[in-house]
């Protein structure tokens, strides 16, 4: 950076040395009186849905950000910088999300953004913010195209569609199900997942994808048709909205006896048992928490402080958010900067102890800026109101 | 003296009705700011008489009736009914005090039968089913409405038939003061003369005060007592029916010279 500014000026060596001395002098005198609060702060930006269907996740994310800021500030900040949280409601709408994120960056000085929302919305957001170079750290967004070489500032810790689909295809191979239907919502998440999974399963399996509109309330006519044909052995539910909670009831009511498999661990969310009732028993779901996952010291500390604040253990993706926050911390301390471009570059090289293991970002085709981790657990509820911890582990699929 | 009584439905009952004058003084109306349609109209509909208002198209005759009936925005002046200030009352409250309007344009309920339309005329006394049934019978007989039309949809009637049903409906409203806006427009000459007969009989038979707006000047003059001439939102002339009949040629010639625009920028 410094070099770029000086280069055109220094016609010869003497001028260059003088220039260097001058720059050093100014920067040194500028730095010396700077106490912790005079350094540019680290501002954690959360542009998430705070009012729509997924508002609970959004609010919990902001609270985790606040927990992180409290902890950092009590230890004297990050690199001597104060840490604060700014947040706003995307109302689940891409245009609102973009203008909100721009405001968080321009007016509130957000150092980095932490994403949580639909894959489509996040993709639009990433593209609109590309020129700002502000790092966007994703913890629980599964779209394949959410990271990639064309989005250098976007990093992700945690599973994503192609990764989950690879592991789930392995599971299906060893499972008894031969005739499978994927109910896929028409978002980047559902569509990608269905495509990845059907592309990865073994030739012997019959897989049919049935798309549906994400916010639809009723699938009974479609399920009815399914029931009157050859019934599938298993129905994989890949959606995000209200309908996935109704399906535990709509599927059997249509006369289907198929095994329900959640493509993600929505059965562990607080409303699952209230909405599914006794039909929740027997449901199988994919998750990344399981008995064999060992928390690191960082992870244990997070779990304890989270439990103290929320009165329950973190959900698995909340560990990933904590890892994202720590990734930013590492990038700031490594680079001693909050300049967005510097942070984006530094993040590619950081390596640190995450909540479940060591974390660094890969730069490879299909997993760009991606921290790969996690063993897939297929779990099944065996009785009403069972907790995730008590659910039966049907299969454990290592990457 | 002007008093403001409670507006009650009870007053609609014919009991204790006394014929009173309806007086408009300095009445002003503007639908839009700065565009006054009426600019201080003075008209008295004397009790148990037929007062006729005539004037060129756009003079403000219909607007005057609507303003009295609470359907046009009054910006100044006063309307009194037997000394009671009724300016800007809602149609419903006016009706409760016996003031009913038959507007110029169609106001029937097209998807209802003629009978239902007539029933709606008795809305304020809708609980008195027996009375309502008898009134409808009586009105149908008085106006010689062909029987088979009674259960037809009002929207399927001819324009003239609809107009007739509107007038019949206003009879069910049992008004003491009836405001009629071109009651015979679109009626055949035979039907029209029948309607004029009925109107002429109103003050004597039922003690009704009639305020009539009409383009059918010759026929309406024949049944009227007092006549007012409006032009461009102002009183232009007045007199007894006999007086105006004599000067009619001269008056209508004046309308042609003035043009027909009723709205005047103030």
């Amino acid at each position: 950076m410094v070099k770029n500014i000086i280069e055109p000026v220094c016609a010869n060596r003497r001028k260059f040395l003088a220039g260097t001395a001058l720059v050093l002098a100014t920067s040194w005198s500028g730095l010396r009186p700077a106490a912790a609060e005079d350094k540019a702060p680290v501002v954690l930006g959360f542009a998430t849905g705070l009012s729509g269907a997924q508002a609970q996740y959004g609010r919990d994310n902001v609270k985790i950000g606040e927990l992180f800021a409290e902890q950092m500030n009590s230890q004297g900040g990050i690199d001597g910088r104060k840490v604060s949280v700014v947040s706003g409601d995307t109302q689940d709408q891409p245009d609102i999300a973009i203008s909100l994120a721009r405001r968080l960056i321009r007016e509130d000085g957000a150092t980095a953004l932490f994403g949580h929302g639909g894959s489509g919305l996040t993709l639009a957001l990433s593209q609109a913010l590309k020129s700002t170079k502000v790092p966007l750290l994703l913890s629980y967004i599964w779209g394949n195209s959410n990271t990639g070489p064309s989005l250098p500032s976007v990093y992700r810790i945690g599973p994503f569609n192609a990764y989950v689909a690879t592991l789930m295809a392995k599971y299906l191979k060893q499972s008894p199900y031969k005739n499978i239907v994927i109910l896929a919502e028409d978002t980047a998440y559902g569509t990608d997942f269905a495509k990845d999974l059907s592309g990865k399963v073994d030739a012997g399996l019959k897989v049919e994808t049935i798309p549906f509109q994400a916010k639809i309330q009723d699938l009974s006519p479609v399920l009815g048709k399914l029931a009157s044909g050859t019934q599938p052995d298993a129905i994989i539910v890949a959606g995000n909205y209200q309908i996935i909670y109704s399906l535990q009831n709509q599927i059997p009511a249509a006369g289907l006896k198929s095994q329900i498999i959640g493509a993600w661990d929505y059965p562990t969310t607080p409303e699952f048992w209230e909405t599914a009732g006794k039909n929740g028993v027997g449901v199988i779901y994919a998750t990344f928490t399981g008995p064999s996952v060992k928390l690191t010291a960082t992870g244990e500390a997070f779990r304890a402080s989270y439990a103290a604040k929320f009165g329950r253990d973190p959900l698995f993706y909340e560990y990933f958010l904590w890892d994202c926050l720590n990734a930013l911390r590492k990038a700031v301390t490594d680079s001693k900067s909050v300049d967005p471009a510097v942070l984006t570059e530094t993040l590619a090289k950081v390596s640190f102890e995450g909540t479940t293991g060591s974390i660094h970002f890969n730069q490879e085709e299909g997993a760009w800026n991606q921290a790969l981790s996690g063993t897939l657990f297929m779990k099944q509820y065996t009785e009403v109101k069972q907790t995730d911890a008590a659910a039966k582990v049907v299969a454990e699929i290592a990457p | 003296m002007i008093t403001r009584p409670r507006r009650t439905e009870a007053a609609a009952k014919p009991s204790g009705r006394v014929p009173v004058d309806l007086v408009a003084t300095g009445l002003r109306v503007a639908y839009e700011r700065d565009v006054e349609i009426l600019r201080g109209v003075e008209i008295t509909a004397a009790a148990r008489r037929i007062s006729l208002v005539i004037g060129p198209n756009g003079a403000g005759k219909s607007t005057f009736l609507k303003a009295v009936a609470g359907l046009a925005p009054v910006t100044g002046g006063l309307v009194t009914l037997g000394g009671v200030d009724i300016t800007r009352w809602r149609p419903r409250d006016l009706l409760a005090h016996g003031v009913a309007l038959v507007p110029q344009n169609g106001t029937l309920f097209p998807a209802m039968t003629v009978r239902e339309n007539l029933q709606m005329g008795g809305w304020l006394r809708r609980r008195e089913k027996a009375w309502l049934g008898e009134s409808i019978e009586a009105v149908v007989n008085r106006f010689n409405l062909p029987r088979h039309l009674v259960d037809r949809r009002a929207g399927d009637l001819s324009g003239g038939q609809q107009k007739l049903v509107e007038i019949m409906r206003s009879m069910i409203m049992t008004p003491t003061t009836l405001l009629l806006d071109e009651p015979t427009a679109g009626l055949s000459p035979k039907m029209a003369s029948q309607v004029y007969e009925q109107i002429a009989a109103l003050p004597g038979d039922l003690g009704v005060t009639v305020l009539l707006v009409d383009q059918n000047v010759r026929s309406s003059l024949a049944i009227s007592d007092d006549v007012y001439v409006l032009a461009m939102g102002l009183n232009n002339d007045r007199g007894t029916a006999r007086d105006i009949t004599e000067r009619l040629g001269e008056i209508t010639a004046g309308w042609l010279r003035q043009g027909v625009s009723g709205a005047v920028k103030s």
Binding site: V222, K225, S246, N249, E274 | L108, M120
Partner: protein, 307 residues
Amino acid sequence: MRRPKSSPKSLLDMQTAVQTLILGTAIGGVYALMGVGLNLIFGVMRVANFAHGALYMIGGYAAYYLTLATGAPMPVAVIGAMVVGGCVGYFVNAILLRPVYRSRLERPSEFTLIVTFALSLMATSAAAVFLTPNYRKFEGMWPDTITLFGFVSMSGDRAVAFVTALILLCALLWLVHFTDLGRGWRALTQNRMGADIVGVDVFRLANLAFATSGALAAAAGAVLVPLYLAYPTMGESVIVKSFVIVVLGGLGSIAGSLVGGFLLGWAEALGSVYIGSGYTDIYGLVIMLVVLLFLPRGLFGISEREV
């Protein structure tokens, strides 16, 4: 299923078609209930009530919390929700929309549009903040799966929702066609000035129309909680459908909305089974456009007289 293995393919196809129609009918009944309520207000007041979906949501939550707090059985919860929805509807009109009746507003329908739209946004966010955005459900009256004609499988709760909708639709038709109140509503719908001059109290009748419409929307929300769950944005999808039904059946026509509701139910069911499962919301819009192309006033639109 229990179907004999020997059923020929054409029979199976027939059964699928019948089953789809029956499910579409079951869905259409509640659609119709939402549509007639919205259209009642449209007819009586000539305004589009954008808070209709919010009333549906309020009904869903009212029933949920009633069951939660008192353990009341579902019929009581539905009646309770109707009372709440009716009161909310009544006061929205009597208080918030009062200026429409009491002063000469320049553009009453735009005023109403803005007020009801703002209200629905407020109600949705208030629900998200105070009731949390979590999905809620209470156990319906008949959670078992029932089988009609030996091959149509559906939840008993769906049958309950349908029968409730039918009962309420009949009650509304009776109210509109055989009572003085209904006669007044019809008069207002058909000729506003005519209603004015015969002495119809527009404000009172509009209040009652809002209350009735609110109660019907709340009932729809309440009976569907066991099937579709309660959540803050639950009204958003039904408001669009309600408008489609109103336009489809004809503005101001109660019978039209009734038919429109069932048509929408059938279009969605048949479309998603026979054309593509991913476009459910589009089928209703397509039917609406086709109908408007040939019948610009909708199926039963009555001739509108400007007054």
